[in-house]
Amino acid sequence: MAAEVAEVLRPREWLGRWREENQGRIEEWRRGVYRFRQSTLSIVGLAIIIFLVIVALTGPYWVPYPEDAVGALHMEERLHPPSRAHLFGTDEVGRDIFTRVVLGTQISLKVGMMILVVAISIGVTLGGIAGYFGGAVNETIMRLTDIMLTVPGIFLALAITAALGPGVTNAMLALSIMWWPGYCRLVQAQVLSAREEDYVQAALSIGASRPRIIFRHILPNIISAIIVKASMDIGFAILNLAALGFIGVGAQQPVPEWGAMISYGRKYLPNWWWYSTFPGLAMFLTVFGFNMFGDGLRDVFDPRARR
């Protein structure tokens, strides 16, 4: 039965044909991966990210005190320094900081990615429309982008979260609103220049419809730029979420978000230094990993930047 299906579908032929069609692109990819492997720092970045993702996904299963992230309190053990029982020490209500930092990885990564997903969705759509249709549509969307970019993002995010109320969801919303203009501009510029390219003219001349041109021809070429920007931006998104948590309008108790933890721990410096230090280190490691990886990616996709 399987053999018959395979006969009909002929997957090997498909693979072969696909390989032929995309010969050029596969070659580029190979070269890109080679260049990526050349840079130690980028590999390190990738390794860090993979490590973090593993920690985020598996964390809840092996952390020593999982109940400490959902509301358990142990007043007798407050503010204990790092020890065998508590690798990173305990906080002001006796919760294990190691557990909370590990579980905070999940939150930061998840929220960081969601911010970008929302921002990219909005930004790419609007940017694509603006770049492709040009004219008045382009002008309007670009003015809107300009408006959003006139104020440093954190002010806007602060106003929005204060207005809507503190919490991770609202912080995420505020930050997505702050982020989409960047992608809009990037995509618009790319689409605008791609519009004039030969291959687009060629596709038009043989009667390809507009959406088809946008999605099948233009977008794949700018995905690389978007991916590079996104990989660097995740780090910044996490930093900004932490900043809002630090101010007090981001994540709330008992959610173990790194920025909020640094903020609480500030009261206990310098004598109980572990409270602010470890979440800060974790955040540093995460953002550093993403930035290195993004740096390496940029070299892969745009060799000219390296020269």
């Binding site: 509301g71 204060a162 108790q253 206990y268 109980w272």
Partner: protein, 570 residues
């Protein structure tokens, strides 16, 4: 005669007798004082018995002459708090920081000392009250003067009270229910008469109005605002300090008036003080221990041991009146069921809270803190952590298996309020009830508390009414405060409505007989604890860190620090 003046002249007398100053010098220096001059001159003119000329023994010659103790040099003090002083208009409002600065720049009819605060005369020397507690006559001192040297008369008192009543801002809240502008009248230069619209026995306690100089206020009037714009950052008072520098957000500097009419109560006094804003409590602690500031306000409980252990610094801790309640919505299920409320009260882990507070935070016995007049330390019932009793009361409700969710609303960023929420979360989870910690900014919480429909299930509120007992009950548990078209405020966020309680609250307000009042307040406390509109938790301790060189500190309650009695001595 002023005892200090007497001391000074006696010292001069000693100097004269020891032959170190001449008679002319003595007269000159002594006449620099006030009414003691005549006595001093008489004393000096008595022929001094000459010391018998003895052959000086070597030791006698080498014995150093007894030098008089030098007067303590006034020095500058730096105080650090986390709050701004947004306005010092005496008719606007008062709070922890505004109150401290207005106290330094203005005088009031009375001032309070000690804990529990005792009324002492300041501008008002004594007063009479009629039997029905509606007519009051206050006799003022004739010594008080304003900055230009003109005397502070009853006219200024009348003007200040009337202006506040006119402005109808928060400072007038305690006065408006019992008086109108016409109630306050200056009978003569130093007598003020107040005729209240309703009897009010504790009247002197609410007469905390700072007295302004009407001339100065009128001089700075702009477009009919009665000086409101100017008074935000300037003062028109008679108090011991004047403004030297006013930099909002950074620091406020005050300078002492050396010959302040009220004198200086301590051994010495300050030359001035700087109110420096450091917003983070750990920053304040660091500044204290680095010697950058002399007093720090509101430091964290965990910092207490750090300051105590450091040599040269100490902690002043006092109970205060700022009281925390977990207000529960009495008009919505499940918290509308008194059994459910009692369940929460028994489920809460009070000892855990005390541990978190490091032992600094006396739990309430009843619904009023210690120190409020008529506080009944034996009130029953009181509630402590007892999971069995909690289960007992929960079973009386329709949610004995739990399965419900409640919101606990608190001010974002206040860790102790968060902590209380976490304790609630943990304890109620044992009964299968989920508590959501909802952080909000304070304006949001105030807005929520206007009507029961928008009110939170549970909301953490800190409030206090000093020693005016009836206000503790009226502002929090009298239904007329929230059950009106414009809604209520945050103290009544429990939306409690009970006819018996309402009636008694209104009755005690107008009762004059002391024994009756005591009985009624006792009954009110019992009723509140029985019907339990909310969970009374603890009194926020007032914790200040001091450099040992600051002397003379006396706790005042409800304001930050009274700078008048302080001085610096190494």
């Amino acid at each position: 005669m002023d005892p200090r003046e007497f001391d000074r002249v006696c010292k001069l007398l000693d100097e004269f007798k020891a032959g170190r100053i001449s008679r002319r010098q003595f007269l000159r220096l002594a006449i620099g004082g006030s009414t003691t001059v005549l006595t001093a001159i008489l004393a000096a003119c008595r022929p001094a018995r000459p010391e018998p000329m003895v052959a000086p023994t070597p030791t006698a010659v080498l014995k150093p002459a007894a030098t008089p103790k030098p007067a303590i040099e006034p020095q500058l003090l730096i105080y650090s708090g986390g709050q701004d002083i947004p306005t010092i208009d005496p008719s606007d409002r008062t709070d922890y920081s505004i109150g401290a600065s207005t106290r330094a720049m203005y005088d009031t009819l009375f001032w309070e000392e000690g804990f529990p605060p005792e009324l002492k005369p300041m501008l008002c020397l004594d007063y009479e009250v009629s039997d029905d507690a509606k007519e009051w006559v206050f006799h003022l001192t004739d010594k008080a003067i304003f900055r230009d040297g003109s005397p502070l008369t009853a006219e200024a008192v009348e003007y200040s009270f009337r202006r506040t009543l006119r402005f109808r801002k928060p400072r007038s809240n305690a006065l408006l229910p019992i008086m109108t502008e016409e109630s306050v009248k200056a009978v003569d230069d130093y007598t003020v008469k107040m005729t209240l619209t309703d009897p009010y026995p504790p009247l002197p306690r609410v007469l905390t109005q700072p007295i302004m100089d009407p001339k100065v206020v009128k001089d700075h009037e702009k477009a009919g605002d009665e000086g409101a714009e100017w008074l935000i950052e300037h003062e028109a008072g008679s108090g011991p300090f004047v403004i030297k520098r006013w930099e909002p957000g950074t620091l406020y500097e005050f300078e002492a008036v050396p010959d302040y009419w009220g004198g200086w109560p301590g051994k010495g006094h300050l030359s001035g003080f700087i109110w420096r804003i450091i917003r983070e409590s750990s920053g304040r602690r660091i500044a204290l221990l680095a010697g950058e500031v002399d007093i720090v306000d509101t430091i964290a409980v965990d910092d207490i041991s750090l300051v105590e252990e450091a040599s040269g610094y100490h902690i002043e801790e006092h109970p205060g009146f700022l009281t925390g309640y977990i207000k529960m919505n009495n008009q919505r299920e499940p918290t509308s069921d008194v059994n459910f409320r009692k369940f929460v009260a028994y489920a809460f882990d009070y000892e855990g809270l005390v541990t978190y507070l490091g032992g600094h935070g006396p739990l309430l016995t009843g619904c009023l803190p210690d120190g409020v007049p008529y506080h009944d330390p034996n009130v029953q019932p009181i509630y402590r952590h007892d999971l069995e009793k909690a289960r007992e009361y929960l079973n009386k409700t329709q949610w004995k298996d739990g399965g419900i969710e409640l919101d606990y609303v608190y001010v974002t960023g206040l860790e102790f309020e968060e902590q209380i929420g976490l304790i609630l979360l943990e304890q109620l989870a044992k009964f299968n009830i989920k508590v959501n910690l909802v952080a909000k900014v304070w304006p949001d919480m105030v807005a929520m508390s206007t009507k029961p429909e928008t009110g939170a299930d549970m909301m953490m509120v800190f409030t206090g009414y000093d020693v005016i007992t009836d206000r503790w009950f009226e502002d929090q548990w009298y239904s007329g405060v929230w059950d009106r078209p414009e809604g209520g405020g945050y103290p009544s966020a429990s939306f409690f409505k009970d006819q018996e309680v309402d009636a008694l609250i209104m009755k005690v307000k107008v009762t004059v007989d002391e024994a009756e009042r005591a009985r009624m307040f006792k009954e009110l406390q019992r009723m509140i604890m029985e019907k339990l509109p909310e969970v009374p938790l603890y009194v926020m301790p007032n914790i200040l860190g001091f450099n040992d060189r600051v002397k003379g500190y006396k706790y005042r309650g409800l304001i930050a620090v009274d700078f008048w009695p302080l001085w610096i001595e190494e």
